[in-house]
């Protein structure tokens, strides 16, 4: 016991000695990204609020879930800090809409890049846990891969049973690669220690809007590779920088 205590003390001191100068050189902090869900200019409220798509067709939203990850932070010199982690964002789980990136070098960042979806390697890695646990019901078993985004709702003019709208988009390879990466310029430099809260607006209407305006009478459901990239091209621009706090 005695020997163990001495060894532990030496080890702790050694760690301190090694860690301190390094710590002084580059401090780290955390970044909180808040994803604020909207439908156009209105906050997203599930079930009860009726919205209109780009063609003026009415609809409600019952489910909105998606993966983001591979977050890249760029400083003014275009040097990059990469967080490889994936996050499952779910409108029904308020906590999921606030993600925390830890151990971010304390620098000034001028732009952020993020991926909607899950990269090819993570789609082929077998059983995983956490955000990528297949039990999260964002996984296709018959054609292995994650569902990147689910947008579900109802529209009285949908031809699907129960007037449902169901867009389940995924696929990391041909014929439908639905991974989309976006880079957003920050409105002002983001400093990890002083203003580390980034609010990103996520506009669900964009999924149905540009470049292809979705017509609920002809395309009320996408659940495999047919039309998947049409929706993916639409969701590529659903993020925009709202504010930095």
């Amino acid at each position: 016991m005695h020997l163990k205590a001495i060894l532990t003390t030496i080890l702790c001191m050694a760690t301190l000695w090694v860690a301190m100068p390094a710590h002084a050189q580059s401090a780290h902090g955390k970044l909180i990204i808040a994803l604020d869900h909207f439908v156009g200019d209105q906050p997203l409220i599930t079930d009860t609020v009726t919205y209109k798509n780009a063609l003026g067709q009415p609809f409600t939203i019952t489910k909105f879930r998606y993966y983001i990850g591979e977050i890249h932070l760029y400083n003014a010199k275009n040097e990059v800090t990469i967080c490889k982690q994936y996050f499952l964002i779910d409108e029904d789980e308020p906590e999921s809409k606030k993600i925390e990136l830890k151990h971010i070098p304390d620098q000034e960042y001028t732009s952020i890049e993020l991926t909607i979806g899950v990269d090819s390697a993570s789609n082929c890695s077998g059983a995983q846990s956490g955000a990528l646990d297949p039990a999260n019901a964002m996984f296709w078993a018959w054609n292995t891969g994650y569902v990147f985004l689910k947008l579900e709702g109802k529209s009285p003019i949908s031809a699907s049973p129960g007037h449902l709208l169901q867009y389940h988009i995924g696929g990391y390879k041909t014929p439908a690669n639905c991974i989309r990466t976006v880079r957003l310029q920050l409105k002002k430099p983001l400093n990890i220690n002083s203003n580390n809260q980034l609010h990103i607006k996520v506009d669900a209407l964009e999924i149905l809007k540009t470049p292809t305006a979705i017509d609920f009478t002809t395309l009320s459901s996408v659940t495999d590779f047919h039309y998947a990239t049409t929706i993916a091209d639409n969701y590529a621009d659903m993020f925009s920088i709202e504010e930095i706090k």
Partner: protein, 346 residues
């Protein structure tokens, strides 16, 4: 009265002795889970890299494989359709029945040598051995359960919680642990001790007919059914007329390419004698019917693979010899391997 009591006592002690002996039979040692690559086999594609083989994980995987708890109403286990006595295929079932007697649309593939694949299922839709079982578990006509449902049942079962702790060091049941344990069991199902294998390594001989069958096989079949795995892991249209009721287009549902319409996985032929009926939809009851199909190009559908056309005519003697050869691919060592026996028989 006394003699009756004595008899009961004797039976009980005999049972106890038997039980101890049987228990040993079901024990899995460190030695039992060593991955041994058979001579002449290529490097495996699934390498247990992030799933280090241990007796405890293998035991958990074996128990899960044989336990109907994976299905919604605890009626269907993996072995319901992957029967050991049928070389882990489904004897005498063209299409198999699952939850509530519902019937699937494809013939059950026999399990063996799964770590030499990087895609699974008849259409190759699954890209990793570990995630394959999610299909039968969640398919409404197979086990009709959700992963979340299975996890909840296992977490509520104290014996399973102990099994998960023994295997993974903690008591939290997750889909990742469940799937990795299953992959240890199915991944170690290696079949490489058939008479063909023994003939190849010089420890057995072939009859004239078997030798002739092997020669014909190498000339006409081996471009797809490549030795020693007896598959090249490709997807091909084998010339079968599409089944108008099943409407199964196979590989194209995954790739989206019209050229892949009616293409299916080239199955391994190991243990083929034990895995009747045949073809992706189980349409042929006998191996003989399969040879009749391949030997008759006039009956092929329009988009048959070019290698299928190369088979040409098969004479009656060719077919007899081929059947004799194919029977040498049966591996009794594999199906009687105690490691793969149902532990609930214990």
């Amino acid at each position: 009265m006394r003699s009756k009591a004595l008899a009961i006592l004797l039976i009980m002690s005999a049972g106890l002795l038997g039980f101890t002996a049987t228990n040993k039979y079901f024990v899995i040692t460190r030695e039992d889970v060593v991955l041994r690559i058979p001579k002449g086999f290529p490097k495996p594609l699934y390498r247990f890299k992030d799933n280090k083989l241990t007796p405890e994980k293998f035991l958990l995987g074996r128990k899960l494989f044989y336990d109907p708890i994976l299905s919604k109403d605890s009626t269907i286990s993996c072995q319901s359709c992957h029967m050991r006595i049928a070389a882990f295929g489904h004897s005498d079932h063209a299409l198999s029945h699952g939850f509530n007697g519902l019937i699937g649309k494809r013939n059950v593939p026999a399990l063996q040598n799964l770590i030499w694949k990087d895609t699974y299922m008849w259409d190759g839709g699954v890209n990793n051995l570990e995630v394959q079982p999610i299909n039968p578990i969640t398919n409404p006509v197979e086990m009709n359960e959700s992963l979340a449902g299975v996890i909840k049942k296992l977490q509520g079962n104290s014996q399973y919680v102990a099994d998960f702790r023994a295997a993974f060091g903690d008591t939290v049941v997750t889909s990742e642990k469940l799937l990795k344990a299953l992959a240890q069991f199915t991944g170690l199902m290696i079949s490489a001790d058939s008479r063909y294998d023994r003939y190849m390594n010089g420890s057995d001989t072939f009859s004239t007919s078997e030798k002739s069958g092997l020669n014909i096989f190498r000339g006409k079949c081996a471009s797809c059914h490549k030795e020693p795995l007896f598959t090249d892991n490709s997807y091909r249209n084998n010339g079968l007329q599409p089944d108008t009721a099943l409407k199964d287009k196979g590989r194209s549902a995954i790739t989206g390419k019209d050229n892949d319409d009616y293409s299916f996985k080239v199955p391994s032929l190991r243990n083929i004698d034990m895995t009747y009926p045949y073809m992706h939809d189980g349409r042929y009851r006998k191996l003989r019917n399969v040879l009749d199909h391949y030997g008759n190009s006039a009956g092929y559908c329009s988009k048959a693979d070019k290698d299928v056309y190369k088979i040409g005519v098969l004479t009656e003697q060719d077919k007899k010899d081929l059947l004799a050869f194919l029977a040498t691919l049966s591996d009794k060592t594999f199906i009687y391997d105690r490691r793969f026996v149902d532990p609930f028989l214990k």
